[in-house]
Symmetry: C2
Subunit: 144 residues, 2 copies
Amino acid sequence: MEIIRRNTEYSIRALVHLALNPGREVTAAEIAEAQEIPLVYLQKILQKLTRGGFVGAQRGAHGGFYLAKDPEDINLLEVIELMQGKLAINKCFLGKDGCNRAPKCVLKNNWLQLEQRIAGFLSQITLLDLVEQVREGGLPGGGE
Amino acid sequence: MEIIRRNTEYSIRALVHLALNPGREVTAAEIAEAQEIPLVYLQKILQKLTRGGFVGAQRGAHGGFYLAKDPEDINLLEVIELMQGKLAINKCFLGKDGCNRAPKCVLKNNWLQLEQRIAGFLSQITLLDLVEQVREGGLPGGGE
DNA sequence: TCAATGTGGACTATAATAGTCCACATAGAG
DNA sequence: CTCTATGTGGACTATTATAGTCCACATTGA
């Protein structure tokens, strides 16, 4: 059972890398190398982050990516939800399956509480927090 | 993004059904009908619950399944982990991929905290709690 | 105009989940 | 002892999600 996909992990690493390199345009190739992410896959991820408004992109020679928001204004929940869809404990909460049991389902309330706790936790962690943790000695960062 | 699989949802419904019908052997067919679960799939699930020690099984005519533990001794975390494997925020925690970044990974600590919160929450909800919620008016229960 | 870069969409590969099938083992009823 | 109702086990298929690739194209700076 896995909650965070590789996809998302890559995104966060990419964002941290950008946050650590402010004021310039960083190429996908640079991020890919530093963060050990397959380049072509990373390009897709960066496209998604761009459309999601987290990063800006500049085409052409000397182009690249840069953070489009301040690190303290990006939290893990929104990145995760951009990359892998809305947080949901199970299908019931995605409105799929049209679960006819929902109206009286006792599990629903329990799942809802869990969902709120997870969302609460994730939304309190910002990119700035991660960057500070990196500066205190951690990776991703990557090859820094 | 989904945390609880259908698999697990079915298991919990089956366990609740058994808890609501103590003192007798309940056939897979009965559970399948009451809980709206494909019979042959449910059989697989019941086998897993049996091997996991949550239910007992009796073969032959008039055979069926019954809870092997008291409802207050079964919590959601153990059922979930039986059905879909150990709770893990991501692959790092499954020891897969041999993530060479792990030693300094700043995400790891954040994921670990989240994991502990989720596990703490789920392990506090017992089958007895669910049964009481059902008696107060919810489903699954199913056709009850 | 060329080279370095991002964009978009289609495509493939791999893995996980969901679900099915069938031969077999066991236990109770007659 | 045999028939029938039941659970068991394993192999199998189907469906979906994730991961990853490829290529033609757009843009920008030199």
